[in-house]
């Protein structure tokens, strides 16, 4: 089957080359049949990539270790769900995931635009086929996921235990869907530039894809943060690590793009800006893939030296240079139809929001690449840490939230002062009340920046609420229905606008969680014996006893040994029991002894979190097995030649001894206020984006009415 998989990739590559060539021929020669053939060839590429993926997945599921990739990334004791997802934990597998998602997305957009955009679509097909072809080429030439082993090992290495977390396994496909999704508007922008049709048609055709890509990328970033919070035993959700930044940058520019295209649709302005933004978004998406793979920056995610870093860099170079040349040669066609009338208009606020988002991206880019920049300038490699990122991005984030509060109620073109005053009377009152309440009842004044953020968030939320309320009232009067129905109709008829408002409120809640948890979280690291207690924030936590289990890992990651602790947390007379633990995976290196290898391999924290709307209590344990070490060493020499079942009994006895002795252990506990709102806000963002993406029945209706109108016009002219 591996041969069939490889063949799929080779044929897919050839088909992609054919699709690109025939589409360009069709566009230049005006040959419709060639264009149709190019589009169908792209469907074939998707089919071939999908077949290859199914073959590889089947190999993972049945643990066929004759595949090099399966032997290195999976094992028979890897749980089924993780076998399924192990494909994209490997470099070759993730390239295949890129290719298959990319060609599926391309096919979907080419199918939906098959009857429109006759001039742009062939060029877009060529661009999309080239990108898909590039990734197929990487696999055919350098990283074949179907490489087989001459000697088939009896057992695979297994999936890295740190990655055995549900969020981590859905996170890569989501990020990749985001990355490849941005290829679609990019390809159509290039097509539009080539044929000099720089109106809003390409935007209308691909806007939905841009929004879907943005949603997936955002959700992927959120899942990565959630994984960091609940699996890595440090208790944070964002570390400004290069790999995290690499996914944030295209998302920031993508956010700017989905805002500024509205200006082009409504007013025919910012055309150069929009094509530049989408080029930057796509280039940054490739950069994200490259950074993860290249190892040029020190990151906690070092993925080992990759063989395809240089090729990716070449592709980024081609994308940037080619697009810039194309934009410059089309500057005449990209001139705006309208000018910015006044700074007090919707378009000016969109522009300001864009500038802040781009500035944020520049800051993140600078910090991420600072080691390279500093080495080039001063010859010494230096880096900036999270404090620098926090300090520089916080003011920009505050401005961004302020713009999100004001922008939505400022009308297009020009806003009257009286109208603005009327629109802001209620939100400003709410913000003022929030400020007073925060000062009177909480310690929020301890952190000025957080206080400002809280007030701005109340402004955003009250603006959104006011807009919904006013719209619902109006609908109630017009349609004479009860308010829930009126609200439903309001959102249903204006999905894009109200979906956007929902996204804004979600982002506001997300910022609420970030601001509160970063300014007011309390963290303690302690070493305790059973019976001892410590305080963190408002909690008093007691280490009751040690736990030790064999083959009963609660998280289902397949760990043979789980050592943990039972903690009791008391607050205001209420008791909560927490069970943090640590999974031990057997070491596979020969250095450790037959018994010792069970304790000296990888170990991962299984964090205990009490989720709450007001605050989270987070606890992790690091069991100290120093007491067991003499016994382990003795067992290593005594049972070296015993059978596996005897060794298993010995391991069980050692684990039992840990439970009975309950030696001191190290703990980290965190009280983090409002941190759950990050995840709740994220879910609301996704919900809002879904509302905005969902096709409105109205567009179909409008198309029908316009046909009727045309008929009526014809008849009237005859009279």
């Amino acid at each position: 089957m591996a041969g069939v998989g490889s063949a799929c990739l080779v044929v897919g590559l050839l088909t992609a080359v054919y699709a690109a060539a025939i589409s360009i021929y069709g566009a230049v020669a005006g040959n419709r049949a060639a264009v149709v053939s190019g589009r169908r060839a792209m469907y074939c590429v998707a089919g071939l990539a999908l077949t290859a993926t199914v073959i590889l997945q089947a190999a993972f599921l049945r643990s066929d270790f004759s595949y090099k990739l399966v032997a290195e990334g999976s094992s028979t004791d890897t749980p089924g769900f993780y076998k399924f997802t192990a494909m994209w934990a490997t470099q070759d597998g993730s390239l295949l995931l890129w290719a298959v998602l990319m060609s599926l997305f391309a096919s979907a957009v080419l199918y939906t635009t098959r009857r429109s955009l006759r001039d742009i679509a062939p060029w877009a097909t060529a661009v999309l086929a080239s990108i898909a072809g590039f990734f197929l080429l990487l696999m055919v030439g350098w990283e074949n996921p179907f490489e087989t082993l001459a000697v088939v090992p009896a057992e695979g290495v297994g999936l890295n235990p740190l990655l055995r977390h549900p969020a981590m396994m859905i996170h890569p496909p989501m990020l990749y869907t985001g990355y490849v999704g941005f290829a679609v508007p990019f390809a159509f922008a290039i097509g539009a530039l080539i044929v000099r049709q720089t109106g809003a048609d390409w935007i209308r055709a691909t806007r939905r894809f841009a929004l879907i890509a943005w949603t997936f990328l955002g959700a992927g970033i959120m899942l990565g943060a959630l994984w960091s919070y609940s699996e890595l035993g440090w208790g944070g959700y964002w570390a400004w690590d290069p790999v995290e930044n690499a996914s944030l940058m295209p998302w920031l520019i993508g956010t700017a793009f989905i805002h500024s295209i509205m200006v082009q649709e409504k007013r025919g302005m910012l055309k150069v800006w929009n094509v530049s933004l989408i080029v930057a978004t796509f280039a940054l998406s490739l950069m994200g893939t490259f950074l993860v793979r290249s190892g040029i920056l020190d990151s906690i995610h070092a993925f080992g030296a990759s063989t395809v870093g240089r090729q990716l860099l070449i592709l980024i170079g081609i994308v940037l240079i080619g697009s810039t040349a194309l934009i410059v040669s089309r500057l005449d066609d990209l001139r705006s139809k309208a000018k910015l009338d006044t700074l007090l208009s919707r378009e000016a606020f969109f522009l300001a929001n864009n500038l802040v988002l781009v500035a944020l991206c520049v800051v993140v880019f600078w910090g991420t690449f600072f080691p390279l920049i500093s080495e080039a300038l001063s010859g010494e490699e230096a880096s900036v840490g999270p404090p620098w990122f926090n300090r520089v991005t916080t003011p920009l984030a505050l401005v961004l939230v302020a713009l999100a509060a004001i922008g939505p109620v400022v009308p297009w073109r020009r806003a009257g002062r009286a109208l603005l005053l009327r629109s802001f009377r209620l939100p400003l009152t709410v913000a003022a009340v929030t400020l007073v309440a925060l000062l009177a009842f909480t310690d929020a004044a301890d952190s000025t920046l957080s206080l400002v953020m809280f007030v701005l968030i109340s402004l955003v939320l009250s603006v959104v609420f006011q807009e919904l309320w006013r719209g619902t009232r109006a609908r109630q009067t017009i349609a004479k229905v009860a308010w829930p129905r009126a609200l439903g109709q309001l959102i249903g008829r204006n999905r894009r606008r109200y979906g956007g408002y929902v996204v804004h409120s979600g982002i506001a809640l997300l910022f609420l969680g970030v601001a509160a948890s970063s300014a007011f979280q309390i963290q303690r690291d302690v070493r305790l014996s059973p019976g001892e207690s410590f305080e963190v924030g408002g909690y008093e936590i007691t280490y009751d006893r040690a736990t030790a289990e064999i083959g009963r890992d609660a998280a289902g990651t397949g760990a043979p040994i789980t050592l943990g602790a039972v903690l009791t947390a008391r607050r205001d007379g209420e008791e909560q029991v927490l069970h943090p633990s640590r999974n031990f995976y057997p070491s596979r290196s020969g250095a450790a002894g037959p018994i010792g290898r069970f304790f000296e391999g990888e170990a991962t924290s299984e964090v205990a979190v009490r989720w709450g709307l007001r605050r989270d209590l987070w606890a992790a344990v690091r069991p100290d097995i120093a007491d067991l070490e003499p016994a382990i060493r003795e067992a290593d020499s005594r049972f070296a030649d015993s059978g596996q079942d005897v060794q298993a009994v010995v391991v069980a006895a050692l684990v039992e001894r840990y439970r009975n002795n309950s030696p001191p252990a190290n703990f980290r506990a965190i009280e983090s206020p409002l941190v759950s709102w990050i995840w709740i806000g994220g879910m609301i963002v996704v919900l809002g984006a879904l509302i905005a993406v969902w096709p409105a029945p109205e567009t179909r209706l409008r198309r029908v009415t316009s046909i009727y109108a045309a008929k009526l016009g014809k008849e009237l002219s005859r009279v």
Partner: protein, 134 residues
Amino acid sequence: MDPRRKRKLRLFVALGAAVLLAGTLIYTSFSASTQAKEPSDLLTASEPGRSYELTGKVVKDSIDKDGERLTFRIRDRDGRESLPVTYAGVVPDPFREGREVIVSGQLQAGTFVAERDSLITKCPSKFTKDEQSA
């Protein structure tokens, strides 16, 4: 105001803001940065009292735990020179002999005294090749 002058003024204000931002960025990043050094760099030249980021691999059989206090040696990525490190705080999950780590602190009397909780271990790549050789 005449619209053309107004537009020019806006452009200047925008450019001014951009220059200001760029200046802040460059200034703050250079003043807040810490230099990454390998043991051999610190052994040949290091200013006392200055903070460095030490990177390298954890030397085999050098890890010693005494309660919360952890001591180990870091050696150059491709070399033999090494430095002893003392560290307290949270040890990341993937910390092991032979792994690449980053730790910040100061050199005091031949020992690198690390700041609390500053130890970062590189994720053992998703590609397990290194792991087996380590």
